[in-house]
Symmetry: C2
Subunit: 333 residues, 2 copies
Amino acid sequence: MITMKEIAESAGVSQATVSRVLSGSTLVSPAKRRAVMEWINKLGYTPNMSAQTLANKQSHLIGMIVPDMKNPFFFEVIDYLESEMKRHGYHLLVANTRGDENVERYHLQTLRARQIDGLIVVPTSENFANINKLKDTSISVVVLTQSHEMYDSICISHSYGGRLVANHLLSLGMQNVLLVGFPQDEKFIGFLEVYREKGIKIPEENYFDFKKGEQDVVQAAYDAVKEYFRIHAFDEISAIFAVNDLAAFGVLHAVKELGLDIPGEIAVVSFDDTFISKNSFPALTSVSQPLEEMARIAVELIIDRFHNGSAKKPVHLELKPSLLVRESSVKTN
Amino acid sequence: MITMKEIAESAGVSQATVSRVLSGSTLVSPAKRRAVMEWINKLGYTPNMSAQTLANKQSHLIGMIVPDMKNPFFFEVIDYLESEMKRHGYHLLVANTRGDENVERYHLQTLRARQIDGLIVVPTSENFANINKLKDTSISVVVLTQSHEMYDSICISHSYGGRLVANHLLSLGMQNVLLVGFPQDEKFIGFLEVYREKGIKIPEENYFDFKKGEQDVVQAAYDAVKEYFRIHAFDEISAIFAVNDLAAFGVLHAVKELGLDIPGEIAVVSFDDTFISKNSFPALTSVSQPLEEMARIAVELIIDRFHNGSAKKPVHLELKPSLLVRESSVKTN
DNA sequence: CTGAAAGCGCTAACAT
DNA sequence: ATGTTAGCGCTTTCAG
């Protein structure tokens, strides 16, 4: 690895001058600048960002912690974030907790040690137990997909998303629905509110509950549907609302295996609108999150906080999701 | 951020002693060790890895460059890699080229600047143009999913995978097949070899060619099938072999939309065996790569090279894929 | 405009 | 067993 010192010696200037050239300072004579540039190219100099980080107290690194890297939703988020960071000259350090709070704690610690300029977290721990401890560190954090009072946070209104689904299904006259996911999820709460407002009750047994931290969501959802219909007649429900695309994928598999027509005999509605929703057959009606916008804002917030400190109080963004109606709930032809 | 120096002052010892405690050196008296540990906890010390990297010339960072982060195959790989790196105390820096060679070049440069201890690349550029230039740098690279003569490389035999598919389809008496992907792909070449050996010819028009760097593979595959059947009768082919799961997903969608029975009227075979293969309906017969093993070896190779230099000559691993037969090619009930 | 020198936080001889 | 010191590669005053 060739260093600034070496190119300084070769070009017959001081290290400071090389540094100035590299940083685009105007205080360098054209002649020296040219000489330095020549040697930089000739010797193939690459700056040492660790040294820069140490000297500047800025790493241009953003850490991200997610609970499940295998979920396409997170991958699409990561993809947008990575892309957005590149635009700003940042790099992404990803860490996966696999739903384990201890792993989350570990990553919180090691990412901090890496001098990240900011952290984007999709919380794993219950009640934000781990991330709340970051409060008395100087690190700026953005909580993604959930709202958090202490930190900047960006999410959609899940309950509004649930309401969209409810209104859609009700407009189709579908009164009995199976919910596949985590009953405490805001989207289901919003959904149930609407039904309650209309005086329609969804029986308890129609809330299928995943174990917290369930890793094979597809399989769990598949099993849920199979189990439900082992006990219930096919015409007892008219629709299934899945907590996310992974779950919907499992639901779809099960429903088709049972030979039920979608949406004729049973409608399926999903959440997140990843490539799975768009490309399944039938294509899934799904609640879509404005991921690109969320990613853009997240990166901007992080960078802004880094420079302008924690002076301003936390920004809480709650964007509105939208419902994309496709063939899994409404026959088009 | 509290530093070693501050700990040293608080504990009334030298910085070197703190460093020794932290590195687990035995050359510290129990008393001082205890005192130091107390202050470390009290003050909430976190080491500065940039400084460590600078002093040690080791970052414990591994970079990875992939051409398409949205492909489930790659994110399953990334997931395994991240997990494996964590076991070794490494972190993963991911970069996505989106099929753009210029972006690949950019990342090669910036990742190097970040002092990564090693690089795992899934090549984007034709003929390895970009990565070949790493040869005269000291960085250790592992090429993943393809074989490369200069660097350590880990891949499966794609042509063997293609042969597995060919033999499987032939055993089912399927003589005319539509290939959806990139005709120059080894898996298709292997596939065609077997057919040729049996004296069976697949007409040129049955090779559907994606544009290089095609980003929406699902859609492209969907379109390919639709287009094929716009011109051809349904019974002209008995099977479709898709280049990967993303393509197979599109194929599946199209075939079902056309109302064809799978595998009765048409069989579908895929490659990579991601969660898509496992969970589609019908579940896809697919060629499976030993991802976990590949990830483990990749990380071990990188770390080994880092410590033992480029002395030994490159290791080339070509693992054998296996064919998982599911309902998309063979009716089970 | 340019160079010398101090410092970022940590490690690793080298003394003692 | 412990402290002192000299870097690691870069940025940034401070002089000139």
